[in-house]
Subunit: 241 residues, 6 copies
């Protein structure tokens, strides 16, 4: 079955990373996966969460926040602030972003700083959580480089490369990097986050309709591994550039 | 490495299901996995969410809510209502419960009713989200039976058996049905939801520390499959009783 | 006029108290008054409210929280958290619970601890605030015993037995321990809280329709005194058991 | 024992009622009990609460709201809006005001209108809830007169005179109409709401410290009856004036 | 074109200031501009905002709060607390009041105190924000006098007289001190705040419909200057009285 | 006195407008004034506010929303959603944006549509509210062109060109288009919004310290007129391009 945009089932959308998009952020990147575009920014703020202070945990902290700009979707998504609370999906995604970025960092080397990873979706066309993670990792590296250059931290705390991809089963066919229309039609949706060493950080598979077999699960993770390898290379290139 | 309570690594905690615990709920069950205990209640309310009305989607709806009672944890967990908003973890879990229960039901056969699945944790000792799903499925069956008996719905909408288990890697060893102390020490934590037919509904693996290999992922899912088979039998027994 | 369940007008519903229902709580009790059932749990948390610290008031504090589980009522009661604030009735009831439990305790002997009394209604069939107070007093004793055993506090701070009952006038007849249908039909509704010594802690009489005379007020308080004597005995038994 | 301001124990503070204080309100009154001063305003708004519409209850509705102006207390009381929710005490009081005013009105004769009773405390020196009720009843009469004159309602819905007084036991002595300092020192605090016919609408007695006997309860209600008789006369005078 | 109440276009409404309206406030004034009436109260609270403490800014602070009482308008305005947040207009106005009052005060001379300026609208008939500022300045002087008398502050911090007026263009005609009906019909609405020395503190002109020319802007500010001169005299008189 | 970046006092910062930045928005523009950068997006949503429906006002509506992205400032600005309510400054600014854009549009020609103007600050270096207005007007034109092309509206509703500039007095010198450091040091701050015809839409002058004379006010508005002329030309160019 042919994909909407003519891609092979194992083919990623065009992915582009623009680094240092913002003036003030310690590090920032705009990442595009096809028509999905996310602005990822890292700010370093002196201080750690209260529980760390109370429990005298040394080092620093990394946390994520995620929001979609209202005009990022056709049909406009109204701002959470107008309802007074974060929607459940955004909360779930920003918790994921925080966990993944903490997996990339040795917190003990961030002594005294909290790194805020802000992922704001400019354009949404599926896969915004994975795009956020991919861009966040680049922005995190840029921020860390700046903190090192400014001698705010002594050692590089980044201990892992991290990238993510969404894969899924549409009309019985496993495919990678789903766009919004594919995602909406998918029977199974899986978000995979892996390290540069090819191991899993997060694996979240959901049957939107019906269920999926062990075989399908293995096919999807294989697709994900392949896509993540490509994204890791793009991330490296963007930082080298 | 020996487990805290002397279990084998592939051994579930004692699991007990008490049905029809509540007077008013259409169906209810208290489920115990060791010292974890969750009250699962299903209420049938005439009416469907606004988006279904607006889009004229026929049938009914199933949704979940999850909360921990304050005294369910050592150290008391303060109520979300005192902060004015649901915490992120609870929101994530109740979204999961809702998805899983919808996977068990043919919504078209619930015409006009919303089934609320309320999971309130009485005692927390790890694995509350999986216990909630396991108890919720039993309560759902009881509620459906009542709705059929009261002729509120015409056909049985339940199309799948659903059960869940948490597995994880502690000190390098995969083990099943983690208690709180094991969960807190786990490097990898995985929640698996499967059908009676042995297929996946949800697969959520998270590396809390480090990462996990494909091999470990397969070991964990194998442990989960085995545990879920046992839980499915307990669920059936509780309904037959 | 005969009562729904055939009771005499001065007859309580069956009352049953199950102690130590929870694993983690310092003390807990499930209390049943007929089909009303409330889970009362007491947690001891080191620390006192800010105003005590600021005003350097020595000792500890006792406070109550009250919620109805959604499935405790026919028709499901939606959770306050979904509206972002506690409803007025719950707030009124939990303020009452806190006051009554503080009347039972010499706060000076709780040095440094706040006792949280959590009353969560499992099944609601009228009289949940009085049931909460009755169960809370039992749970409070259990908690205090544990704190003494663990040498967290030095002296027993409990200085009063406390019990409560709702009485009312239905179709012109004073009656005790109203169930939901009687409560809904009552012209006068009175909640009475008394000590083991037969004195009043709280007296809250409300004319739901019309007004009530001094004579009726005296009849109602006499009914209440009698019922409270019985409940005090049940509380003692549950603690002795 | 002598009272702060030299009053006899059964003597009310000076009470003064200024009618039609506001331009737009359907009826309004400023009531003073000594240094306590409350602005009571009644607005008539076409429409009834949703539950009345849904249950097709005919007639109208009466509801109360209560707030203290920040500068009404020494030490300034911050506005609830800055915390985003009504404090528990205010909620309890406004629920009481609403119940009392509904007891004064035949709702069936308010067809289609909701009367909002807004009680805003200008100066607080004890007894604000009773003052609110006393002023509200006057404002209610003024509002009803205007609605009748404007032919918005056909028949006078007011069916009862209502007045309230706080009494209490200070240093063992029952006394009436407590000012703030007496209220703060009281061992027992009782708010009594009665009709023109000398019957009870609400009776709320609370032991702030220790407990109170049946004899004390009777002494307090006798003091209250006497005070309420005087207040009812003042209310009538203010309306006749 | 004749004005509703027969005033000349450059004529203020009757303005009356009643000082020391409240018992507890450090200073208070009720100001009337025609049928608009605002209660302005100043409370002095020991302590300064957190940012001043953190940045070790010496001196004190002045801040404003503004609310309309529900019955101040025909049609009743519901309380913001029922929606859980301050409405945008009130927030804008109270920010303006705070800025203007800070312009009147040398904050360095308020060492350690925050002055809260509470402006609560009793009756609304247009121009409530300007009335609030005019009354607030009087209440501020009264509060400062009391603080000086009580030796809480050493030097008089008031460094400017401040008054405000609304002017506008209705049917092409510039006019001063608009009442509600004129304000609702105005094409241009301008609020002007000036010092006793005839200089501007705030100038806020808004075209509600169309736009306004430089010439019109100058006409409006000239009208405002004239009105403010009169109000400054009334303020002085009220303080001298 | 020389400006930080060497500009003449009447010289704008470099201003650049990038149109159609977003995929889904009906119209969008990123506007830069020096280091200030704002993303302005217009979404057209079928439907009008409730008050328009209730009052049967024909046509459509235009409204604005404004937020700063957290990383747009040095020091990171935390998201309002984490406090549960919009901050006062943002509310004030978005009300201004809405008013200005409504001044540009004949609402009667928007029948049935609400245009949401979302202004999200990417980088903040002073003047974000004026930049928002300038970019919003461009985005509004692009959106209208699309709505016309898609035949959703029949006639072009845009009736005015609108542009804005901030001017101020720093160290006694009037200057235009203040950057953040100039703004923070300014004694007087004025935001001016004008039409293509050289008339005022909004004029908001504030003395941050001291006051300003009529002469200074005229100098500032003259500077503003000149700057706005230039910006209007840039807006036209961006739409022609």
């Amino acid at each position: 079955m042919a994909r909407i945009d003519g891609r092979r089932n194992d083919q990623l959308r065009d992915c582009k990373i623009t680094t240092n998009f913002l003036h003030h952020a310690a590090g920032s990147a705009v990442i595009e996966h096809g028509k999905t575009r996310v602005l990822c920014a890292v700010s370093a703020v002196a201080g750690v969460p209260r529980w760390m202070k109370e429990q005298k945990v040394p080092g620093g902290w990394v946390t994520g926040e995620y929001q979609m700009l209202p005009a990022s979707t056709s049909g406009r998504t109204s701002r959470d602030i107008n309802r007074g609370r974060l929607n459940g999906r955004a909360q779930e995604i920003q918790r994921l972003i925080g966990r993944c970025m903490r997996a990339a960092v040795d917190l003990a080397k961030l002594d005294g700083y909290t790194l805020y990873i802000d992922c704001d979706v400019l354009d949404a066309d599926g896969g915004t959580r994975c795009a956020s993670i991919n861009g966040a990792w680049v922005a995190l590296n840029l921020a860390v480089n700046r903190l090192l250059a400014e001698r705010k931290i002594a050692k590089n705390p980044i201990c892992e490369s991290i990238a993510a991809i969404s894969v899924g089963i549409v009309d019985g066919t496993p495919m990678t990097d789903l766009c919004y229309h594919e995602d909406a039609a998918a029977d199974v949706d899986m978000n995979v986050v892996m390290t540069g060493g090819g191991e899993f950080i997060e694996l979240q598979g959901t049957a939107e309709s019906g269920s999926f077999s062990r075989k399908q699960m293995l096919d999807l993770t294989a697709l994900a591994e392949s896509g993540i390898t490509d994204i890791l290379a793009l991330q490296r290139d963007s930082l080298a550039g």
